[in-house]
Symmetry: C2
Subunit: 251 residues, 2 copies
């Protein structure tokens, strides 16, 4: 069996998230159906991680094992011609070692959380950013809060679902808040993110920006290991999975 790795982008607006679930209509379902029409065989794909309903991706990665002899350089176009236009393979496929696993082999992930701070929402990005017209967010305070979140921490207070994770310790390598005239973009890069972790960090930062939470309160939130200590979970549609990185050998 060959192990094929692909990178996709999707506008998650009309899907029930990445991962197959009883309600159907997921990115995974759509891709597995496209692969089936191409190869004639139902094939399970392995994503780098799930994304929730209405969450987007610029660079989600998945892999799958197949007997198909289709050349790697043909996969992207062949699959794209079978996918709806809000899901797109965005790089040539690669044949990877058998041990490569999109989730377990991932070394770093980057997410973006976008906030439109203009008085009126942007019609062209309305499904891709949270609209927060007022009050004006205190960006300096938000950046100070971010500094407390960088590094290795137990992020129990910043996740909502503990069931399937042995450890809540994760490392955030980079946490940057970019400011434009009518937009704030939070970029987080880490070795992994717990369920809802980016959205809870974004929601907490928004409360910091509103003056409801002091930046100095962040260390206590981390130490308390209790979801009730952190801010709200920011709405899903502002979140985009930007990139997943693997070790050089698997790249």
């Amino acid at each position: 069996m060959r192990n094929i790795r692909m990178k996709i982008a999707y506008d998650g607006t009309r899907y029930n998230g990445f991962q197959t679930q009883p309600g159907g209509n997921t990115i995974q379902d759509i891709i597995e159906s496209a692969i089936e029409t191409l190869t004639g065989t139902r094939t399970r794909i392995i994503g780098s991680g799930r994304t929730d309903a209405r969450v987007h991706a610029e660079g989600q990665v998945f892999n799958f094992h197949t007997d198909s002899r289709i050349a790697v350089e043909r996969w992207a176009l062949a699959l794209n011609s079978r996918l709806p236009e809000d899901i797109r393979v965005v790089e040539s496929a690669a044949e990877v070692p058998d041990a490569f696993h999109s989730r377990f082999s991932a070394k770093r992930k980057t997410y973006r959380y976008s906030i439109c701070t203009g008085k009126f929402h942007d019609v062209f990005r309305r499904n891709f950013e949270f609209h927060h017209p007022s009050p004006k967010l205190d960006v300096a305070a938000m950046r100070e809060a971010l500094r407390h979140l960088q590094g290795e921490h137990d992020f129990t207070s910043f996740t909502t679902n503990h069931a399937d994770e042995k450890s809540h310790v994760r490392t955030i390598y980079s946490a940057v808040l970019k400011e434009e005239e009518k937009r704030l973009e939070l970029y987080l890069t880490g070795n992994g993110f717990l369920y809802n972790m980016v959205r809870i960090i974004a929601g907490t930062l928004i409360h910091v920006g509103q003056g409801k939470i002091a930046p100095a309160a962040i260390p206590g939130m981390l130490q308390g290991r209790n979801r009730l200590l952190a801010g709200p979970t920011a709405v899903a549609h502002g979140l985009t999975l930007i990139n997943v990185e693997y070790g050089d050998a698997e790249k």
Copy 2:
């Protein structure tokens, strides 16, 4: 009667264009209905010009005459709360002199035509740009062609509908082709544009970029005053009305 001027943005994807027409589902219809629910009176709005089905606007302008006493600073939020999220008032309303007419008073308009030149289309902009993955477009040739289009010309060869225009002479003040890694953006600013003029210029430029039309052929196209001489009409969804400018007194 007061004369109220407003600026709106819209994602034109699901509408049959700006202007009211028998098939309904136009931006104008939606706005007039919103104004009616606000004031209780059916009110005809005057747009700066029509935009076709699937064409977008960042800065379309309209005005209307009303007896309503609603304060100008309340109009934008009041109307936005009654509009679908793909149509948005993006500036505070202004009360303008009775003689102000969004179409006749317009001095300059700017349109953008966007072309995605990446191998795969961008899922987030798929409704806002034309996808042209190959062959690679010759940007230098396209810019040379644009220089021939700048200035005052009879644009008969670059319009498809002559019925309601007395003159086909228009002036293009500025014609700029911006190049990004996977995107070309054509910005045209002029004192007015004939029906389909920007899309025919874009389609002609794409043929120039493909080497099908020489830049030096543009002057002959203009002089020939015949639609058959120019290139094809580029697809509607790549077009966005960016801005409409008025004289200082009416601004």
